[in-house]
Symmetry: C2
Subunit: 457 residues, 2 copies
């Protein structure tokens, strides 16, 4: 029997047990933003590893506990990154079945976290089981980090990774989430953009004034609007001096991958009622446009926003902006450039507060784990995979690519209709199984591929 067939048989044979295991985790309301039942969820996660013979530790951090598990030995090691916390379930009335009472129907399991990220996590447990049952290898050291604060921005994770760099060292990392696109093609993501999230605040008077004095008294909304308008031109080009200086040119390998990414399914823009993309971009230009860092107004609030009219000159205005950054932009440097930009235009009274900073992360496509993941995807999903060098969102991946110097790939078992973060979140059982088969193949191939000797000039 070929290894792949043995993997498939093992996953299928134990599928019901794994769905039961997943349902058990989903019944725990581990909502990190509400300080929910995180401790007992960490213990339940630790127990899943203990049942499989892993050494398990639970580390307290500045935020929620981190579960760390390790098993096996050999010349190579691989690190899994997942999280056991979930988004809030509200609005509850939009759920067909209660979010923390997992419900199986239509070939899927419905619950908050059934996909993000407990579904991914248990699918990987299924892969670990299949790998353990079938491997014929030189040995592989499996490491798994499962944190409890991903949905609130992973506070505490950076120092944890720094303090445990030796423990977490590996040859590659498999990221928390991934899956298939609208055509059923498996996606392999290699990067996440960074982010600088700032709040700009302007105050021109101690209190709002009557707008009959608008010819005399300074309007905070107008002032902040002008400051914000200066940040970007109509072609989405950010006008902050130095902003693009450290943008890394794309490698030939990355460029070749970008060219092969299909345009987004038209149903995406149609579903949102979008008539055109920003700066007149065509659908087939969007895969490349993700390498254009963005300057996005997430909120602008000034003066009166209720019904009807109120005739005031607003004394205060606030704008929240997120910049999505690409390698090798750094959030702290962009924040300084932004301050210099505002000062140079005379907006030194506009206060700037940094309320979020994430470094961009990208794995080059020539890393051995990438080819392994592609070959395994082709076998497990029986479709040609789409490799995406960079996706638009952000996450704490840079702690792993940066501090730990790991190549990282995102693979998984979600599909575009999984309703992550939304009511009726679910995982399709068949995807769950295929995702497990994919990951088990990656482990098997990774364990048997000759170790790459690192060479430095």
């Amino acid at each position: 029997m070929r290894v792949g067939d043995a993997i498939d048989a093992h996953v299928d044979r134990h599928l019901e047990e794994r769905i039961t295991e997943l349902a058990g985790l989903c019944a725990i309301p581990s909502v990190s933003s509400e300080g929910g039942d995180l401790g007992s969820c960490a213990c339940a996660v630790a127990a899943t590893f203990a049942r499989r013979g892993f050494d398990v530790q639970i580390f307290e951090t500045a935020a929620q506990p981190v579960v760390y598990a390790e098993k096996g030995d050999g010349p190579r090691s691989i690190l899994f990154y997942n999280h056991y916390d979930v988004q809030p379930a509200e609005p509850l009335e939009l759920w067909t079945s209660p979010p923390f009472e997992p419900s199986r129907r239509d070939g899927a399991l419905f619950a908050r976290g059934a996909m993000d990220d407990k579904g991914e996590f248990v699918s990987r447990l299924a892969a670990l089981d299949a790998f353990a049952a079938t491997r014929q290898t030189n040995g592989l050291r499996i490491k798994a980090l499962v944190e409890g604060a991903e949905e609130i921005g992973s506070p505490g994770l950076e120092p944890f990774v720094r303090d445990h760099a030796a423990m977490l060292s590996a040859d590659a990392c498999i990221w928390e989430a991934g899956g298939i696109d609208t055509e059923g093609r498996p996606r392999i993501d290699l990067g996440l953009r960074g982010m600088l999230y700032v709040e700009l605040h302007c105050r021109t008077m101690k209190r709002d004034a009557h707008s009959g004095d608008a010819h005399a008294l300074p309007n905070a909304a107008w002032r902040l609007l002008r400051a914000v308008a200066s940040l970007k031109d109509e072609n989405e080009h950010v006008l902050v001096s130095g902003f693009y200086d450290s943008v890394r040119p794309l490698s030939a390998g990355t460029k070749a991958l970008v060219e092969r990414i299909p345009p987004p399914d038209p149903s995406w823009a149609e579903g949102l009622g979008v008539r055109g993309f920003v700066a007149g971009r065509e659908p087939d230009a969007l895969a490349g446009a993700v390498f254009s860092p963005t300057c996005n107004i997430a909120g602008f609030t000034a003066g009166y926003g209720g019904p009807g009219s109120k005739t005031i000159i607003p004394s205060q205005a606030t704008c929240k902006i997120d910049f999505r950054l690409v390698p090798d932009q750094e959030p702290d440097i962009v924040a300084r450039q932004l301050r210099v930009h505002l000062d140079a235009l005379g907006f030194d009274d506009v206060e700037l507060a940094v309320i979020g900073r994430i470094f961009p992360a990208m794995t080059e496509p020539d890393a051995p784990i990438v080819k392994i993941a592609i070959d395994a995807a082709r076998e497990a999903w029986r479709k040609e995979p789409v490799v995406v060098p960079m996706v638009g969102g952000s996450g704490p991946m840079a702690y792993f690519t940066g501090i730990l110097k790991l190549p990282v790939v995102s693979v998984g078992c979600s599909f575009p209709g999984s309703r992550k973060h939304a009511p009726d979140e679910h995982v399709r059982i068949d995807d769950f199984a295929k995702g497990a088969k994919h990951v088990a193949r990656i482990l098997s191939a990774f364990a048997t591929t000759p170790a790459v000797v690192s060479m430095e000039d």
Copy 2:
């Protein structure tokens, strides 16, 4: 005994009775925006006229009832405009004594409406009494319109004035409010700016999207911000084509008055914590700047305004803007120009809703009532008056200057610390008396001045 002395003696002798009459009106919570006790307040106002021998009518309108009273005859007539409705009293906890339980202390009467406009109104009743007791004239026809919806924008007043133009015809009109400045100088105001209040609304998607897609999906906040930024340059010049076309050049008389207006008391800007006026205007330029129509952002609302961060692309944005207009700008024409401006710049998807329109109004300083009001002010207040051809705010004065073709002057008994619309609103008893003496002198002089024969080419 000179007429002025007789007026003063009468006002002083009956002052306590008038304060009691005022307190009676202030005890009625006639808050128009809450649909409060308007009917009984209209009746109480009608009763004040009936006690004085006026013919009184109460007219139902689309909004609150209008009280109309008339007395006397002769070759000349004068119309008073006042209102019996008041602003809401909230926040109640900031009142030293309850807003609808008039309280006398520190030489003043405290209550909601004690100044605006019941205080002004009863001060005029005191003037009517003194005029009736002392006049030696050819006769004067007194007309008084007291509406009940001024604080909610006078809906229903325009058709009422149109439908009763003959009844309301007069030689001049005395406006609802006025008073003294921080130096105790009586102010005589001759005009109010008009207003166009619009709401601009932009929608780019059916719902907010994740800001990781900001390189692709259109941001409503950015789009509306650009549309609004196009309306005005940094020198306060409105860029809407045709906006200034119908601005009437100032007459020599108006210019001369503007030059004589003292700059605002420095305590005004200091109290607001204002470091500089708009467009770098100097304090002594502000009296003239009121003739520059404004484009004021009263509110801008888009996306997330709560604490911390939310990473979204806003699908909707709303901006409320009030344009203060000067003669002979018309709100409906400006609204059309604004639509053309937006369309020409490609913002045809930005919706424009007109939610308020008021015509500007201004009386030329050569109208006989102006000189009469100046001379009377000098005598009553014993200070040189300040004549202000135009103030920054707006009101329904244009129904009287426009439809009825009346010269209108604003005189009254408030002072800058009266706290109109705010907790602890009050009228100082001494100002109340001086305001009555001022108005009684105007009536006396107006009744004895030879009628001006109107000449038309």
